[in-house]
Amino acid sequence: MNELPNLDPTFHQPVRTRLAVLLSNGPVSFSKLKATLEITDGNLDAHLRKFSEAGYLHTKSVFDGRYRTDYSLSSSGTKAFATYLRALGRLIGAASQT
């Protein structure tokens, strides 16, 4: 069997994997992320911070009667998430062969 791939810990956490999917389809507002993931402000804040630390987060101010911030994966975040998904696929593939 080929060597098992490492999984990027920024993405490999239940909430952050789902968050990454939403961000990869972004841009999306904080309130929409919170409602979809059904987590608290503080919890979502902490997970977004993980993405920001890794350079995976892109933010954009949007005027919609008030100013708000929309979030999406940055270009490096998009690449890293694709790498993560490929690695996960290889792991699943390896597991199905056992």
Partner: protein, 306 residues
Amino acid sequence: MHHGPFPADSDLDAVGEMRARYLAGTPDAYDEVARSFRLRDAHLKAANRYDEVVLWFEHDLLDQLQILQLLDWFSGAERRAAKLSMICIDRFPGVEPFRGLGQLNPEQMAGLYETRQAVTREQFRVAIDGWAAFRSSDPAALETFIAEDLTSLPFLRAALERHLEEYPWTIDGLTRSERQLLKLVSQGVRSPGELFALNMDCETVFFEGNLRLFKHIADLCDAPAPLLKSEPHGTFRYPPMVAIAHADLLGQRLHLTSTGEQALAGALRPSSVMKRDDWLGGVHLLSGQAMWMWNPDSKKIQLMPN
């Protein structure tokens, strides 16, 4: 960065908190703004994970102040990437007038990347001194700093000299931005959008965003004796203070009041023209107290009695 509090003795987290409270304007908007600061700072604090960090800036006041803050932050070697580089320009071939990096297309930006220079020890020194001077409660610190050798950050002096002109002036009690806006309205400019565009032409180096301009307009409308009147509401409405549709925001119309005419003519007592509770870096400008003002003749800041 050129307005609102920046006290001398705060760390990055405390400054972010304070800046968020100031910039949000309303409690509703605070969470969003504070989150933006936390996310920015999280990325900044993780800078040492990179082999190289490249700072991209232009010549205006906002960017020059960011250079001071960031180089001061990165002066702690453990905080920065193995290599810290910077690109800072005031022009680009074929882009006239050059106002900022946002005007450049991806190919032009890519070309600039090759021109990046490693941040020098002298640039760190100037930034550390400049950031301390900007946050001092005594504007003399900034004036002294401006007189020093700033050639390593070639756009800094002009930017900071423009900053000093944002103190109320001894001749009429107006800041340069306020005077520019009143003059434009007196010349018949009525719409906030047009005012924003024409105000750019009054600056050698444009630095104010639309929100700051809206705040100036609102302050001029809300002075004890208003200098501007905004139709249809009387006061000027803008986000984040008020949720307002884009068309309604830009549909407001501005008129000079008789007090505004008098202020422009320098016929009012400078200390009474505007009600102020403003910060410029570390300096608090508060009506009812002696106030630091810009003397356009001596080109110095001086403390004027109430």
